[in-house]
Symmetry: C2
């Protein structure tokens, strides 16, 4: 097989430019000039370096191509046309159209796209995850090529990515920065100061190669020597935005703007007209993925009544399901708190320390999901707020990632509000297709950790700092979407609903009420999303609509909101007494803080009495 010559590659580059213009002009929106600056880089990559079997996107040794600058989708889709997998008709007439797979920014609806991009600063962090898989897990010779915009180098997440890439010596990762010097509304911070980019990349432990991004020979040489040096490589390519069409080249005011039809015609003429080159580039090595031994999973078993922190049960269950070789664990340098260290001790080769970089923590999980691993990423629940954009984009990426946040709510006590997750349930519930779990004891936690591993999408588990009694025998099952009626009698007068720590408060309140002759049903809503609507309806029916929800979370968007939504969706709205953390907490003991927030057993019992008052 003969690769395109550099001259032929130059023609390909012009084709990519012309096609980028054609599809965006036809759509009436899109980013042609951001595509044109990188066309030479991508033409050389596609024709001469990207090892990819286009007919088999799942080939285990295929290289990975990620457009971190997702707005250059015209260029990416034009590459797909040049690779023969998207027709010219689809490219030109379907781009950005309703129902089309050629969306405004790339998503994995397309089989050659690993991750959704378009929120800048995410493709490179995602690529680090893929590169971790390649180097340490798959042990396959694929490379990860990430096209980055210069503007997005202002995102701290890009430096988290390079930091981790060099820490883990990911020399299978190549970042190509398209330094076209113009952002959306004007010049970038660093302009064409390629030396500044190089100094930063080198200081972060990468090899930096500065090139003229329109010199095909320089590009070819850089791409050829990029992978395999023991370090990640950053190619810093000086380019011109709108390169190749004199009316827009290096001009401000042309970001995210298609060329009007007459202008597009002139551009296509200046670029030498339409072409229909179909590329046969390098092919991947014919290697097979490793076959790994699958061990037996024996979940931890807890004695009824023993005091076990759910974060501890999480770690122990994780260590147990780690017998399955696809289970990978990452942590944000708090593994001794989240208890992922329990996994690290038994499966160190599948544990990645991400240090205090939560965006990269989640992005690495997304990248591992691309390679079909089952990643669990863990940190304090509060600190997942740092990565919300990455979690949101993970849903668009159709990534299957599991997140576990420990130290939720005021229950953490003395550390104070900065460490208290009080927004995490709202944040995670609002993610498309997410699953949100909040177990209250060791048994349910262990079961749900295994459930998480078999659940697609963004799956979140909230765990608790303190140790509380085990409520369920090891034989009990906790399907996602279910609930447990922990206590009930035919004469129940009120239902107390909790999850996590507040379930224990509900039980204590029920005891207190029982002493007063009030029979309270207690419902464990361990599955916050999806929620067990039927159990709520049954409880409402059984207790004359008297529902009390207590949650260690701000009142908006959490457990109480999930209950109201479910009852409303079911067509049976009922009055819910909603106890939640309504004021700004401070430090204190867990008991003091729960009491101050009005979510302690005493407050739950009083709420029940109030509901029963004549």
């Amino acid at each position: 097989m003969t690769l395109l010559s550099l001259d032929e590659t130059g023609e390909l580059a012009q084709q990519l430019r012309v096609d980028s213009i054609r599809c965006s002009t036809e759509a009436g929106s899109g980013h042609p000039t951001s595509s044109m600056s990188a066309a030479d880089l991508m033409a050389v990559l596609l024709a001469r370096h990207l090892r990819y079997d286009w007919q088999h996107p799942e080939h285990p040794a295929n290289d990975h191509l990620i457009f971190s600058k997702g707005h250059a989708s015209p260029l990416l889709y034009s590459m797909f046309k040049a690779a023969g997998v998207v027709s010219d008709d689809e490219l030109v007439h379907q781009y950005r159209q309703f129902g089309s797979r050629l969306a405004g920014h790339p998503t994995p609806v397309l089989p050659w796209v690993d991750v959704a991009t378009g929120s800048l600063g995410q493709g490179l962090p995602d690529g680090v995850g893929v590169a971790l898989a390649g180097r340490f897990l798959d042990e396959l010779p694929y490379r990860i090529w990430v096209l980055c915009g210069d503007s997005e180098m202002a995102e701290g997440s890009m430096w988290e990515a390079l930091d981790k890439a060099s820490y883990y010596r990911l020399d299978n990762l190549v970042a190509i920065i398209d330094v076209n010097r113009l952002g959306q509304r004007g010049p970038t911070e660093l302009g064409w100061d390629t030396d500044a980019y190089a100094a930063r990349a080198e200081a972060f432990g990468a090899r930096a190669i500065v090139i003229d991004g329109h010199d095909l020979g320089e590009i070819d040489k850089a791409l050829g020597e990029a992978p395999g040096s023991g370090k990640p490589t950053v190619i810093i390519a000086r380019t011109l935005k709108g390169r190749g069409f004199s009316e827009v080249e290096d001009r401000e005011g042309w970001h995210g703007t298609p060329l009007p039809p007459a202008m597009a015609e002139r551009a296509i003429v200046e670029l030498g007209g339409e072409r229909s080159i179909v590329v046969v580039g390098p092919v991947p090595e014919d290697v097979a993925p490793k076959v790994r031994d699958i061990g037996d999973v024996a979940l931890p078993r807890y004695e009824l009544g023993a005091k076990v922190a759910t974060r501890k049960a999480f770690g122990e269950a994780l260590a147990a399901i780690g017998a399955r070789p696809e289970i990978i664990v990452l942590d944000g340098e708090v593994g001794n708190s989240t208890h992922t260290e329990d996994f690290a001790k038994v499966h160190p080769e599948r544990y990645f320390e991400m240090f205090i970089a939560e965006q990269q923590l989640v992005a690495a999980a997304v990248g591992l999901s691309v390679r079909h691993y089952v990643p669990f990423a863990s940190t304090f629940a509060a600190f997942f707020t740092r990565a919300y954009d990455f979690i949101r984009m993970a849903a668009i990426s159709q990534a299957n990632i599991r997140l576990s946040g420990s130290h939720a709510g005021v229950e953490i006590g003395a550390d104070g509000p900065s460490q208290m997750a009080l927004e995490d349930l709202a944040m995670l519930r609002a993610v498309h297709g997410s699953t949100v779990l909040y177990p209250s004891d060791g048994t349910s936690t262990a079961y749900l950790v295994q459930e998480m591993s078999d659940t697609d999408g963004v799956v979140y588990m909230r765990t608790t700092r303190g140790a509380y009694p085990v409520l369920y025998p090891p034989t009990e099952e906790f399907p996602v979407g279910g609930s447990k009626t922990v206590r009930s009698r035919p004469d129940d007068q009120v239902t107390l609903i909790g999850a996590g720590v507040t379930l224990h408060n509900c039980l204590a309140a029920a005891d207190e009420l029982a002493g007063e002759g009030i029979s309270a049903r207690v419902l464990d809503l361990y599955s916050v999303k999806p929620i067990d609507t039927q159990a709520l309806l049954d409880a409402a029916a059984a207790t004359d609509g008297r529902l009390i929800v207590a949650e260690d979370h701000h009142p908006e968007g959490g457990l109480g909101s999930a209950v109201l939504d479910a009852l409303n969706e079911a067509g049976h709205p009922v009055q819910v007494t909603h106890l939640a953390v309504r004021d700004m907490p401070s430090s204190g003991t867990p008991a003091e803080l729960q009491d101050a927030a009005g979510i302690s057993a005493a407050h739950i019992a009083q709420a029940a009495r109030d509901r029963l008052a004549p």
Copy 2:
């Protein structure tokens, strides 16, 4: 006035160590060893460099001291004791206690604390905001000293901060990195490789000074020469965690762990016993803040029926209220989309371009709030998810910041889901004390921009990409917490509730229904939080409980959830037909995407018919 000698400062450092141990041992929690590593640095700063009038924390020329490593609160509070503003009794007996102002991590409940820290990687970005104020707005000679942990240098936000600090030549900013080489669960990524830190800091445009963080002379020299070089300074101080007590010094396993009482006794002996040095350090210059002219605010006026995008009205209103000199605007390099450029054109000296760094964007606003400015920070609504941890911490910081997110929901059309905010209302509603606004027309937007400027806390406005008819005359008022009943008749049968773009869909649906003889009330819930509960109750009463809510947002935590919460809180739960974006959207026209999501006028009208069906 004579400053402490270096020898005396060494005694002060030992006092800070002893006091850090005493308070954390007494509390039974806290981070003494993380305090001891930085005690020499902070002793020299306090005694010889920090210009601060401790009796007047609001002195305009006071230096600012920010503990980005907020977990070193024992050290900070010990400094407050040494400065004579916290008693030994309070320090030792109140630290981390319920109701105390000496919380586990610092918050501005204390008058000498600018911002809450404890989520790592935020203090330095916040400091950049204070430094921007000092250099460009206050034009006062104060310096901003930020104590950073080495672990938190893994957060990308720290590099966003240094990038902006050098871009804006903030030589009033000094970051002091306490390189004690040990994180929470083990060694940091870079250990004691101070050269690596220096290379990174210099590559990001800062001046780097590497010192022995326990050599008082070196510290004194570095602090003395740090400010004023035309660049931000980063002092990289090699230290020992737990310095001064041989049993824990440089040992793993002592992060976040107080010394047991017997051990604390031995430590205090080894450190030379308790001391009660009270420091009189350098005083601030006797300068007055600038007096600025206040101009007249003339809000833009829009013709009824004219098509105006609310993002455009936001920009125009912002330019108008810019007549007030305290109004400051920041943008994430999308000012031509959010329309903050309208402000930038008339008040360029009060406009700060933060480029594509949303964490720093929000942090800068927090820092400006410290200096009592009224900052507005703007980017695409979707991208505020990038800064959620900063927004959450802003609430704990008692910061008064205004955020405006444009391009919300599927209404944006062709750009696709990465650019569509569909979680922002949930995210912002869950922030403590937040205000969430979502106007539908130019008039209400302009009014609410002015309201925002006078509203404390975290205030968020969601704006819309497309242009829609102006609904209200310029005389109309839109108080926070209010709503507008846009259409009503005594015989209304159903209430259609919208905000932003869906209000226009509700109006179109009402027109459609009117043609069928169905009278629909239309409610504009421009204030999502606080919400106008009375208007909801009135509407429910007037239309027999038939409420339909349509929102361009995922179903969890947004407008529908706010309505359900309000009705529930008021004790009048009713069935709400809730139209929201339930599937993952793709590209398309705004009309196609709203229709596909089931939130278009046709769907709203059909929902009304369904509710009225017998």
